[in-house]
Amino acid sequence: MELLGQVAGWFGDGQTWLGPGGIPVRILEHVAICAAAIFVACLVALPAGLGFGHGGRGGLVALGAANVGRAVPSYALLLLLFPLFGLGFATALPALVLLAIPPILTNAYVAIQGVDADLVEAGRAMGHGELQLLARIELPVALPLIVAGVRTAAVQVVATATLAALVAGGGLGRFIIDGFALQDDGMLIGGAVLVALLAVAVERGTAIVERRLVSPGLRGDIIGPSPRR
């Protein structure tokens, strides 16, 4: 119970909340690098996933390449990129982007591929061009799965961004790494609790976004063979 006191003491100390190493700044850093990583990963993976999914060619090669990335642990990637990019944000960002690409790319590709071919044919018969088909028909129908991919990536990135502190990056991992180094159990546990809460909040929060983004008319089983033909 002495430990709880230490943790409470850490949270209760005004210094914990102030300045460039304070909790609010660390949370902002953590969220900022995660948002940047997800944004860049989406810029790369969404057009690729949608394009390959729509064209239907070369997709498996792209998926294969993205999945090879999965076998490389983020921990290793962070340490490997360090000599190239140096301390901090610049090293952590590429590692997180590489982590986020496979789930986003895979889901976008599979979602577009899975759109009922009858729907696409109907769109073509109505005179839609290729881009219109993608934007007006395939994208809305595939959206739930695509968003699910981004969500998976976001949760993984928030968790892994903790490791950015290893290469002297900011974010909430700082408290854990520094807590270990200073043998300050209050800081160590306090940081761990904050990261865990943030990860769970992102997981729950993105679940709500996912539900909101999907049009109510699309909650049926349109992806995959539709029962009404």
């Binding site: 076998a71 290793a76 892994t160 160590l188």
Partner: protein, 213 residues
């Protein structure tokens, strides 16, 4: 860039780190399989347990690894046990889901035929349901093993870590050869583990080969 001399001089260290990595992974996946099997059988018997079990294992899965290990250190210290508790915890969600899904996918006809042939519920589970569920269970084991091999590295921060330890030491001493060796070996371990499971499944399910699948 790569210091081959260092590698030659430190083959012992590299071998030790690799075997520690394998041991940490094997105990984690083995322990995870035992715990998950118990939980999955519980769910198989009492369906209502599915929601709570997946909710709790999902919560554990969401907690970042570094945070989970940090939370465990004051309780179990800087030890093998601390590493394993975290590593086993992360395998549960994937393994429980796959074992349950595998058992659920057993065709009802096979189930009925086994009952008609006089199998007891336990015999039916062991001789009929588990073998038929094996492909889905092994698929879960493959994902769990590959991700555990990556997670073991993080336990370097609590004094374990196998190859992660080798890499972290290399990192602090600016010896990037050690970092590279650790990365290459961990990817190699992941690939070998994956192939091992594919081979085991092939040996254990001769009926799938007979049907040409």
């Amino acid at each position: 860039m790569i210091d081959w001399g260092w590698i030659a001089r430190h083959l012992d260290d590299i071998a030790a780190a690799t075997s520690a990595h394998v041991a940490l992974t094997a105990v984690a996946v083995g322990g995870g399989l035992v715990v998950s099997a118990v939980l999955a059988l519980l769910i198989h018997r009492y369906r209502r347990a599915y929601g709570p079990v997946t909710a709790i294992s999902g919560l554990i899965y969401t907690i970042p690894s570094l945070a989970l290990f940090a939370l465990l250190v004051p309780i179990t210290g800087l030890s093998f046990l601390t590493a394993e508790i975290g590593l086993v915890g992360y395998t549960l969600l994937i393994l429980v889901r796959n074992i349950v899904a595998g058992l659920d996918a057993v065709p009802p006809e096979a189930h009925e035929a086994a009952t008609a042939m006089g199998y007891s519920p336990a015999g039916r589970l062991w001789r009929i349901e588990l073998p038929l569920a094996l492909p889905v269970i092994v698929a879960g084991l493959r994902v769990a093993t590959v991700s555990t091999i990556g997670l073991v590295m993080v336990t370097a921060l609590i004094g374990e870590g196998g190859l992660g330890q080798l890499m972290l030491r290399g990192f602090t001493l600016q010896n990037y050869t050690a970092v590279g060796v650790g990365t290459v070996l961990s990817v190699a371990l992941a690939v070998m583990a994956d192939l091992l499971f594919i081979g085991l499944l092939w040996v254990a399910t001769p009926w799938r080969r007979a049907r040409g699948r």
